[in-house]
Amino acid sequence: MSDPLVAVCEAMLFVAAEPLALGELAAAAEVDESAVEQALEGLERSLAERGAGVVLDRSGGRYGLRAAPGGPAEAASRLQARAPERGLSPAAMETLAVVAYLQPVGRPEIARIRGVSSDAVVAGLLERELIEEAGRGDGLGAPVLYRTTTVFDRIFGLEEGVSGLPGLDAEDEIDGDELRQRLHAVAAERG
C-alpha cells in the first residue's frame, strides 16, 4: 500500500459510522473523485491480498468497511448486542418489501396490501432501523410515511440501493387475468 491516498481512504472509512459518498471522501481527502475511486480500488485489492479482517463495502452507492465474511464477521457479530437482520419473520419481510418498493408509504397502505394490521411489524422494523419515518402523507388524517434506511441497503447488500431491486412484475407468475378467471369460476358455480 504505497499510495498514501489508500491509507487516507482506509482511515476515513474506518472512522465513519455511516456509509460515505464519493464526494464526501474526495472533499475530506482534498483530492478529486476519480483519485478517490482509484484509491478505493487499491484499498479493496490490498485488503484482499493480505486477507484482512475487513472488506470494502458498497451499499446504496456509498462506501464503507465491514467485517470480512466467515470467522471475522461471526466474531464481530458476537460483540454486537443487536443484529438488525436476525429473526425477520415472513410478515416483516413482506412489510419491508412493501416499504422498499412503494416508499414513502404509510401504515394504512401497508395494511391494505397485506390484508392484516401491520402496526407491530412496522414498530419492529423501526426498532431495527431497517425503516425510518419520512414525513406524513398528503391530505386529511395524513399518516406517517416510512422509507428504507442505509442499514437496509447494507444488510441486504444492495449496492445501488433500492434502485437495484428487481421489477415487481415477473413473467412466470399467475397473472391478474388468470386469478380473475379462477375466482370467476367460483362465483359462477355458486351464483
Binding site: F14, V15, A17, E18, D57, G64, R66, A67, A73, E74, A76, S77, Q80, E85, L88, P90, A91, M93, E94, L96, A97, V98, A100, Y101, P108, A111, I113, R114, G115, V116, S117, S118, A120, E129, G139, L140, G141, P143, V151, R154, I155, F156, G157, L165, P166, L168, A170, E173, I174, G176, L179, R180, R182, L183, A185, V186, A187, A188, R190, G191
Partner: protein, 258 residues
C-alpha cells in the same frame, strides 16, 4: 359440503394474512376450486387471526364482504335492499376486485421472497454504526433558521381528522364490534341461541361483516357454537359448554349439528 379445514391440510400459522391464505387456496391445483369451502376456511382462519391481535378491522371487513359476495353468501347473509346509495356488489364484481387485490399482494409476496433470498446470499454483514472509539468528535450539525409558521403547520396537520382512503369498489365503514358481541351474548344466554342471518338481515354490509367478526369472537371465547346444515343454509348459533378448538371451530360446529 366437501372437505374441512383439517382435510385441506392447511397450517394457518404459515400464512401472513387473509390474502396470503386466499391466494394459496385459489392457486391450488389439486382441488377443484369450486369445491373448496373458501368461506369456511377463511372464517376459520380469521378466528385464529383474531386471537393473535393482528386484526385490522377495516381491511378485514372489506375482505369478508368481498369473499362473501364472491361466494354468493350475500344472497342470504348480506341482503342490502334498503341501502340506497350503496352500489350492489355482485359476484363478478367481487371476483374482479379480489383478483386485483390478490395480484397486487402476490407481487409483494414475491418481492419479499426475493429479499429473503438476497439476505441469505448476502451472508452475515457486520458494520459499526457508532462513531469509532478514538475518532475525533463530530460537531453537532449547525441548525438552520426556521420559520415559526412551520410549527403551526405541523400542529394543524395533527388536528386534521383522519379519513379512510377508498381505493375499492366497496365503501368501507368501520363498524364497532362490541355492540354485536353484547347483543349476541345476550341472545345466547337468554334464549340459548339465535339465527345469525335473521339478526343481520337488515344491516348494511360493513355492519354485517363486523357482526360476523363479533360472532367469531364469541366462538373463540367458547361462549357459542355456530352451525350450518349446508353451505348456504342459515347459520345457527347456540350456547355452548367449554372446550372448543379454535382452528376447526366453524367446521366442527357444523358437523356437530349436521
Amino acid at each position: 359440503m366437501n372437505g374441512s379445514v383439517l382435510e385441506l391440510d392447511l397450517d394457518f400459522d404459515a400464512f401472513s394474512g387473509p390474502f396470503d391464505l386466499l391466494l394459496a387456496l385459489v392457486l391450488r391445483d389439486e382441488l377443484e376450486l369450486v369445491e373448496v369451502p373458501i368461506v369456511e376456511v377463511v372464517l376459520a382462519y380469521l378466528v385464529v387471526l383474531e386471537g393473535s391481535e393482528e386484526i385490522d378491522l377495516e381491511s378485514l371487513s372489506e375482505f369478508l364482504v368481498l369473499v362473501a359476495a364472491l361466494c354468493e353468501l350475500k344472497s342470504r347473509l348480506l341482503v342490502d335492499a334498503d341501502e340506497e346509495d350503496e352500489e350492489e356488489i355482485d359476484a363478478e364484481g367481487a371476483a374482479e376486485e379480489l383478483a386485483a387485490r390478490l395480484a397486487e399482494y402476490q407481487r409483494f409476496k414475491r418481492a419479499a421472497g426475493w429479499l429473503t433470498a438476497r439476505r441469505a446470499e448476502a451472508g452475515l454483514r457486520v458494520f459499526r454504526t457508532t462513531p469509532a472509539p478514538y475518532a475525533p468528535p463530530r460537531p453537532a450539525a449547525p441548525l438552520v433558521d426556521e420559520q415559526p409558521g412551520r410549527l403551526a403547520e405541523a400542529i394543524l396537520h395533527l388536528l386534521e381528522p383522519p379519513i379512510h382512503v377508498d381505493t375499492t369498489i366497496v365503501r368501507r365503514r368501520v363498524v364497532a364490534m362490541r355492540p354485536f358481541v353484547e347483543r349476541f351474548r345476550m341472545l345466547v344466554r337468554a334464549r340459548g341461541g339465535f339465527v345469525f342471518d335473521d339478526e343481520v338481515a337488515t344491516l348494511e354490509r360493513g355492519a354485517q361483516a363486523a357482526a360476523f367478526v363479533a360472532l367469531l369472537e364469541l366462538i373463540k371465547r367458547g361462549e357459542a357454537t355456530a352451525a350450518q346444515t349446508d353451505l348456504f343454509e342459515p347459520i345457527r348459533v347456540a350456547r355452548t359448554g367449554a372446550t372448543i378448538r379454535v382452528a376447526a371451530q366453524v367446521v366442527d360446529a357444523q358437523e356437530a349439528v349436521a
